[in-house]
């Protein structure tokens, strides 16, 4: 097996483990490249079926291209699409222009997801996060428990030897399952290339700019690039010095850095 075959097999193994253990599963689909790859892996794991819902957290501020892509491909792939939206917060005026980004993400994404899980009683969520995206994500387990308040007890994570993942446990809200944790951004694009996966147009360069990472239209900035095909993106990523999430306004790494500095006497 080549490198991509190995990554794919490991992901399929994890997806099947999750489904065996928790029938009440949903796969989170942001419509981005990673979760679309994950959805494709789910289809492979279940021979073209997606035996559980795909969950889209709709903040109401996503790019138009995202909604179009979602509706077209969920239909083509016969997916049971669940759209979760914190309508109450939107009605009350929550939005990126009316509050700070942390509050907005919390209300429209986190709370939207919480409400949906509570309603649908999902026991496990498949998520397309990768270790190379961010230092914090590099610390994740493949099966990662979250309590009722969604908290991640990162100081005391369960051991995960070989491919023996955490069992379900009473009293916990849900388990997050990360089937593509071991992939890199370049792996994703090489796989998209190999499998000829459909991908939202926003990733491809127009007028010298393209999105490396997509989410809400208000909080994503494109990077300089002329890569307008998957082949060119793969080539670009082999040499780039720019980090993947550099265009994402809500990443909070610098806040932690600043906290550290302040603890040591910096203003």
């Amino acid at each position: 097996m080549d490198h991509l075959d190995k990554l794919e097999s490991q992901s399929i193994y994890i997806i099947r483990e999750a489904y065996k253990q928790f029938k009440d599963v949903a796969v989170l689909w942001s419509i981005g490249k990673d979760s679309t790859t994950l959805l494709h892996l789910v289809r492979k794991a279940f021979y073209g079926n997606v035996p559980f819902p795909a969950l889209h957290i709709d903040t109401g501020y996503k790019f138009k291209e995202i909604y179009d892509f979602r509706d077209q491909w969920s239909n083509n792939w016969g997916i049971d699409l669940v759209v979760a939206c914190n309508q109450a917060a939107l009605d009350a005026g929550m939005g990126p222009d009316n509050s700070d980004k942390l509050a907005c993400c919390t209300a429209l994404k986190t709370q939207g997801l919480k409400d949906c899980i509570a309603e649908k009683k999902f026991k496990a969520l498949l998520l397309g996060i990768r270790r190379d995206e961010h230092g914090i994500r590099a610390k994740e387990r493949v099966f990662s428990p979250r309590n009722r308040d969604f908290q991640w007890n990162y100081k005391d994570q369960p051991p995960e030897l070989w491919d023996q993942f955490k069992n379900k446990q009473a009293g916990e809200e849900h388990i997050r399952v990360h089937p593509i944790l071991h992939w890199t951004e370049l792996d994703i694009w090489r796989y998209v290339q190999r499998e000829n996966l459909p991908i939202v147009d926003l990733y491809f360069a127009k007028d010298g700019k393209r999105y490396r990472s997509i989410g809400c239209e208000t909080c994503c900035n494109p990077v300089d690039s002329d890569a307008d095909t998957v082949d060119e993106i793969v080539e670009e990523l082999r040499t780039t010095e720019v980090t993947e999430r550099s265009g994402r306004a809500q990443d909070k790494e610098r806040a932690y850095m600043m906290q550290k500095l302040r603890a040591l006497g910096y203003m």
């Binding site: 097999s9 099947r16 065996k20 279940f46 990162y154 030897l161 070989w162 082999r238 550099s246």
Partner: protein
Amino acid sequence: MAKNSNEEYLKFVIVGHVDHGKSTLIGRLLYDTDSLPEEKVEEIRLVCEMLGKDMEFGYVMDHLEEERDQGITIDTAQVWFNTDKRNYVIIDAPGHVEFVKNMITGASQAEAAILIVDADEGVKEQTKRHAYILSMLGLEQVIVVINKMDLVDFSEERFIEVKKELIHFLENIGIEPSYVLPISASKGDNVAKRSEEMNWYKGMTVLQALDTFEVTPSANESPMRFVVQDVYNFTKRIIVGRVESGIIHKGDNIIVLPSGEETVVASIEEFLAEPTEAETGRATGITTRDKLFFDRGNVVCMQSAPDQLPVVTDTIKARIFWMDKTPFTSGDSIYFRCATQEVTCSVEINSVMNSSTLEPVIFNEGEQAVIKNREVAEVTIKTTKPIAVDNFNEIQTLGRFVLGYDDTCAGGIITEL
């Protein structure tokens, strides 16, 4: 970023005592191989400048707020880099004694290791414990780096002294390091570049040494083991699972363990493909000529190789590493998981050992034997149903297991069947 067109990825873990320089070595490896994005380097440079420090690479890996505040690594992480030869995945592992279960979580994914020792402090408790865990996990490709040589004036005498002490310990646990290198991770000596301060050292740099290691060869040549994960009935009945060793082909005469029933592979099933075989590591599916009852945990093997079948038994001898705060007492019922097999079992404690000093734990007469956190024990396990297992030295994936309740409490290897 890309310096090679190689498809090969070697996963290695960096282990050792707290503050002996694991995070610094990772930062240095990334920096010297141009694997750190410019904005990341700038960010670290800025922090260090404000703190009035030299560039400190430890900040590259420790991302949790508490890790940065306290300067300790809490949990394992992974990061990528490449050399002209191939690609690497570094698994960072915490050195603090209370996070040893996180260290094992990381090390269990590795195929090679760097054991780091502070030249000034010498061999410490966690140096030994981590080395023991490497040996228990069956890691054979090990580089020992004696770090912070700048703190001991790059002294060859000190290097020889520490090396001697460590080699003596490693011999006892059956580890023969491939290389022992004097380095300074913070200064970059002998990591990617040869040291100008240690002309007495003629061996390889860390990167050169890593490049000589081999990616774990595929187990395609080993006896076939296909472990069943589940049975699907979407449009037809497909038995899904993973080939843990060997290759399974359409038309193979197979035997299903533990039942011993026999049939023939009618097809190999993958989405939008019609393969006729599946090799080691492949998550795949099969259909069979006869409609046998299949269940999760069944192990499918070749009929044609009766002398190469796993052992079907309810009793094994094993060595386990206990990693839970609650001690284990003989007779407690606990689950046993090996590949996809899961059964309850009872565990009889034969002997217990301190995983750092390797000294036996003595129980007084009439005293109940217990295994405490971070202790190693030789045990006899009796499962409530038969299991199909291999000796760890023959087929690793069916020779290793975990014990647990809600969470995994111990990892183990089968030493005798």
